[in-house]
């Protein structure tokens, strides 16, 4: 892995992403440093989730490109806002979290002692020690989110994307999971999180990308989250226009 310590891991070049030719992210130019801890904020419909979906290849750009340096798409750990998880599926917490070991086990290899130890360790870190045998159907919303973070942990990824990871989650869980994010940051993993709680962003995220389809501001959080920038973002998120003209840029 030939990644320079301060190299960029992720480039957006004149990137336009959208649905049905309508842009949700419009002409974005930005780059994210390896090891950065970045919050993506903006009003509803600003293209935050779309941006993450684009990074993991779930959406083909309408224009421009997303460039990954030193990492493959399949090596990114991604927690979508609403994972389409079937919570009535009859498996245990262990089985679910162990899916995070996919890159090591693939479809056929066993977990082994080592794998079992890693799963137990990850569960302990997120505060679910001893939950291995519990059916996932019995977990609360907060416990489920902890388990999903344990799975992310096992993915051992250098780029981690989180889409609104703290929405409708109790404060104790939020505190613990934020600790985990800080730990990842300390390990020089790159973390990009879509968030809407600006206080959280101010206290925990040194770097911010403020989107309103277009990039409004980006850089150190305190310079980005100014009243003027936030106001501009609110005004710029236009309504979806069925009759929109072709973009000239």
């Amino acid at each position: 892995m030939s990644v320079p310590m301060d190299g960029m891991i992720l480039h957006f070049e004149n990137l336009t992403l959208g649905y049905d030719r309508h842009p949700a992210v419009h002409h974005l130019d930005y780059a994210i440093r390896t090891g950065a801890l970045v919050a993506v904020v903006g009003p509803n419909g600003a293209g935050k989730s779309t941006l993450l979906k684009g990074i993991v290849g779930g959406l083909v750009p309408l224009g421009g490109e997303i460039r990954l340096t030193g990492i493959k798409v399949s090596e990114i750990a991604y927690l979508p806002q609403k994972a389409d998880i079937d919570r009535s599926f009859p498996i245990s917490v262990f089985d679910m979290v162990a899916m995070g070991l996919w890159r090591k086990t693939g479809a056929l290899r066993g977990f082994g002692r080592e794998g079992e130890r890693k799963v137990a360790e990850a569960l302990a870190i997120v505060g679910l020690g001893g939950f291995e045998r519990r059916p996932i159907g019995t977990l609360s919303g907060g416990q489920m989110q902890r388990a999903l973070f344990a799975r992310l942990l096992l993915q051992d990824a250098r780029l981690i994307l989180l889409d609104e990871p703290f929405t409708a989650i109790d404060s104790a869980t939020v505190r613990d999971l934020k600790g985990l994010i800080r730990r990842w940051h300390g390990e020089r993993r790159t973390v990009v999180a879509v968030l809407h709680d600006l206080d959280q962003v101010r206290t925990d995220f040194p770097e911010t990308l403020l989107l309103a389809r277009e990039q409004i501001a980006a850089g150190s959080t305190e310079n980005v989250l100014t009243p003027a920038n936030l106001d501009q973002a609110r005004r710029l998120t236009e309504a979806f226009d069925e009759e929109a003209a072709l973009c000239g840029r």
């Binding site: 993991v56 779930g58 399949s74 990114i76 750990a77 991604y78 979508p80 994972a83 389409d84 998880i85 079937d86 599926f89 009859p90 498996i91 245990s92 089985d95 679910m96 899916m99 996919w102 890159r103 086990t105 693939g106 479809a107 056929l108 059916p135 159907g137 799975r151 993915q155």
Partner: protein
């Protein structure tokens, strides 16, 4: 006891063949049924069973009551419908259920037209209700072969298939195997339906997949015992169903399915997660 339960199988070769055919079929078909129910595709199995008809009927037209031709035709028709409806669902606004319904209905109509213009009523009955009491060597080998392929195939795609059922988005984010799991599974479904229709007929083949699988869900909350209980229940249904058909002179296919249906109703009532036991669970709650 011996006279009642074992004598029919000891005495009559056709009963032994029927039993072997049933057990072989169920060994593969029941795990497939378990995954169908877990993927909320129970009715998809039914649709696929009908989709097989024109292929089997064409095989019959070309080669008569030939096992090979009807199997080949059935598999081709089933896989074609599965892939077409999958493609339509992935590339247009249509959902998979509506596109599958469209293709299987077309397929079914074509099948009935073919059978009714060229075949006799006896042939139609054979295709619809199967001939578990008249399985020849070739049919037995075919069913056993399908069971073997199914178990090996499931072993290979087990983990991705489980992830595809439980959290398809996650599987797609870590691996390109999602379509392999989905279409590989559908091919196994078609293979088992074709195996099932030789023994039980197209209408009954789905029953033996779904009923034991659905019944097992009332006994456990974990997938491994779910598969085991499903297969055991299916074996029991096949065995008891054959005896029932022997003693009561019932058509064997429906007798087996009815027994599986009884197993389902019993599980629904008395299983730990069934209707009665969940009512009887003590109201006092636990401390933690």
């Amino acid at each position: 006891m011996y006279d009642v339960i074992l004598a029919p199988f000891v005495e009559f070769g056709f009963m032994r063949r029927a039993l072997v055919g049933c057990l072989a079929l169920l060994l593969g078909a029941t795990p497939i049924g378990v995954f169908l129910t877990l993927r909320r595709m129970s009715l998809t199995g039914d649709a696929m069973a009908h989709a097989i008809l024109p292929g089997a009927a064409l095989g019959y037209l070309v080669a008569g009551l030939s096992l090979g031709a009807m199997t080949f035709g059935g598999v081709i028709a089933g896989v074609a419908v599965a892939i077409l409806s999958g493609l339509v669902a992935r590339t247009t606004v249509a959902r998979e259920d509506s596109s599958l319904a469209a293709f299987y209905l077309i397929s079914l109509a074509v099948g009935v037209v073919i059978v009714s213009t060229r075949g006799s009523n006896v042939d139609l009955l054979h295709i619809l209700f199967g001939t578990v009491l008249a399985l020849n060597d070739a049919a037995l080998f075919l069913i056993a072969g399908i069971a073997t392929i199914t178990l090996f195939g499931l072993a290979v795609i087990y983990r991705p298939l489980m992830m595809e059922c439980f959290d398809p988005g996650f599987l797609r984010s870590v691996s390109p195997l999602s379509p392999v799991a989905h279409y590989g599974f559908l091919v196994l479904v078609v293979l088992n339906l074709v195996g099932g229709f030789h023994a039980l007929g197209t209408l009954m083949a789905v029953g033996i997949m779904i009923l034991p699988a659905a019944a097992a869900r009332f006994w456990t909350r974990d997938i491994t015992p779910l598969l085991a209980i499903g297969v055991l229940g299916a074996f029991l249904s096949g065995f008891v169903g054959l005896l029932l058909s022997y003693y009561a002179s019932l058509p064997s296919g429906p007798a087996i399915i009815l027994t599986a249906g009884a197993f389902y109703l019993f599980s629904l009532s008395f299983g730990p997660d069934g209707v009665i036991m969940t009512r009887l669970r003590p109201h006092r709650h636990l401390e933690a």
